[in-house]
Amino acid sequence: MTDTILVVVEQREGKLNRVSWETIAAGQALAAETGWTLEAAIVGSVGDLAKEVAGKKVSKVYEIESPKLAPYTPDAFSVALKQFIESKQPKLVLMPHTYQVRDFVPKLATAMGRTVISDCIGYKKEGDKLVFTRQMLQGKFSADVSFTSDAPWFVTFQNGAFRGDKAEAGSAAAPVETVNVEIADNIVRNKPHEVFKEAKQAVDLTQAEIIVSVGRGIKEQKNIELAKQLAEALGGEISASRPICDAGWLPMDRQIGSSGQTVAPKLYLALGISGAIQHIVGMKGSRTVVAINKDSEAPIFEIADYAVVGNLFEVVPPLIEEVKKAKAGG
């Protein structure tokens, strides 16, 4: 086992997934604190992606190569990384908690008899021990979790946990080494088709300056009308959390979050939304967040500028009236 931290960056459609920079930043911070060496790897690299990563402050960048690594499958990625990690023996392996990583990293760790502390938002060094912080119970609690098994230790970081723009550039480009892995013919069982986007989006919420967003606190489909009235009074658009769109109460293209749209309006008014991380990632760039929620502990209040703890059905009707009055010059 070497004292090495390995960051596995992610590429998508030939481009580096931006969240990779966050993981590099996390790796740099951990390396500074532990004195361990930081290296990066890219699986099935294309073009100059490895060079892009080598511009950052890392000791080395590996391109893990095999013709079987494209398109992505969990079988090929898991086998490739297992071979690589077994030969290089890093202590700590960091990845972003993306859909792709969620798809293969539990398999990889299990194949190596190891475990993953997934979806972490930070870390602490306590004496010689590293503990990783993750949200529990939908963000209502945090927990510090440690490994009780031998290295390699696998950790994935939540989108937004570290600042990608804080990833330091290196003084000189790090060396890039290509490592070829063997993937036998019968390994890959899944046959993935092209990635596609569902029907074209009818509404583009990214341009909206004011958004009123509804969550499950709206209770019934007919109550959506109330939120629409507020949006109309404010001159804004309406959007929703995922369960509202899953239920068909509003169309899919009005969903905000990791599997929906990402917006950054001047005002984001959340009605009866709890503030799960998958929702937050889609709206945390909003300039001002107002949250109305009856639960004073709802995680949405963590990121709200103005908060109303209360029943939305009591607060929204007078709010509509006041907005109308204000608009009328009252």
Binding site: V116, S142, E321
Partner: protein, 256 residues
């Protein structure tokens, strides 16, 4: 098709939660419900059975209280249930949880195993994929559609930011199911009545003990997260709050 659905019991969404004495988990005196994506996984299994025939079996691990999620599943149409019943099961990490599931079903031959894509309480998003690896089966995650094909199945994976992908895969396989894949049914009165006579096999800790290894990770402590943002709470009667908020929107946020 013979389908196994893993259903976890989790604290109810609106339940007020308190830390337990050791500060490593919550106090258990709360109301519980079915983990949301698991309800969709069950619904999908029932729909597949209605289309292609076969059997739907549900499994949970947890204390006596968690039998409730199996009863509900049987009432909705599952054929039989397996309950790994012991308080100790909830203290297992995802790796060990998957190991006890594999041990409990070793004499069965399933075509498909469904899990939710992640639990609403712990949220590791691992159990299904770990189980697939232990069984040596292929898997696919975050599934929004399942069709039977000549060679096996074709599934639709949800990717980030509104993208999707179809994947062909052989059986048997493990799929982790995303909420919203279908519309949930309610249990009928007759279903609830019939459920009482459906088989429910209990598996004790002793029966699967040999499959359990050391947990590979440990919760050192759990706590309420510190707020980082300065939030201004608006208080008063509803009409006072409405006035205060409009004042903020006009004079500070400047959108009115």
């Amino acid at each position: 098709m013979k389908i196994l659905v893993c259903i976890k019991q989790v604290p109810q969404k609106d339940a007020p939660l308190k830390l337990n004495e050791s500060g490593t988990w919550i106090r258990e005196d709360v109301s519980y419900e079915v983990n949301e994506p698991d309800a969709y996984a069950l619904e999908e299994a029932l729909r597949q059975k209605e289309k292609h025939g076969g059997e739907v079996v549900v499994i949970t691990s947890g204390p006596a209280r968690s039998q409730q999620v199996l009863r509900e599943a049987l009432a909705k149409g599952a054929d039989r249930a397996i309950h790994l019943e012991d308080n100790a099961f909830v203290g297992l990490d995802a790796f060990n949880t998957a190991r006890v599931f594999a041990a409990a079903i070793k004499d069965e031959q399933f075509d498909l195993i469904f899990t939710g894509l992640q639990s609403d309480d712990y949220g590791y998003a691992q159990t299904g994929v770990v189980l697939a690896e232990l069984l040596g089966w292929p898997h696919a995650t975050i599934i929004m559609q399942i069709e039977k094909s000549d060679a096996g199945i074709r599934v639709k994976r949800e990717l980030e930011a509104g993208f999707f992908q179809f994947v062909d895969m052989p059986l048997p396989a493990v799929l982790t199911i995303q909420s919203g894949i279908n519309k949930l049914r309610y249990a009928t009165l007759i279903g609830i009545k019939n459920a009482k006579n459906k088989p429910l096999r209990k598996v004790t800790l002793a029966e699967v003990q040999s499959a359990i290894g050391e947990n590979l990770q440990k919760i050192e402590r759990m706590y309420i997260p510190q707020k980082t943002k300065k939030t201004e709470f608006l208080e008063g009667s509803s009409s006072e709050i409405a006035k205060k908020l409009v004042d903020k929107l006009r004079n500070e946020v400047r959108v009115l």
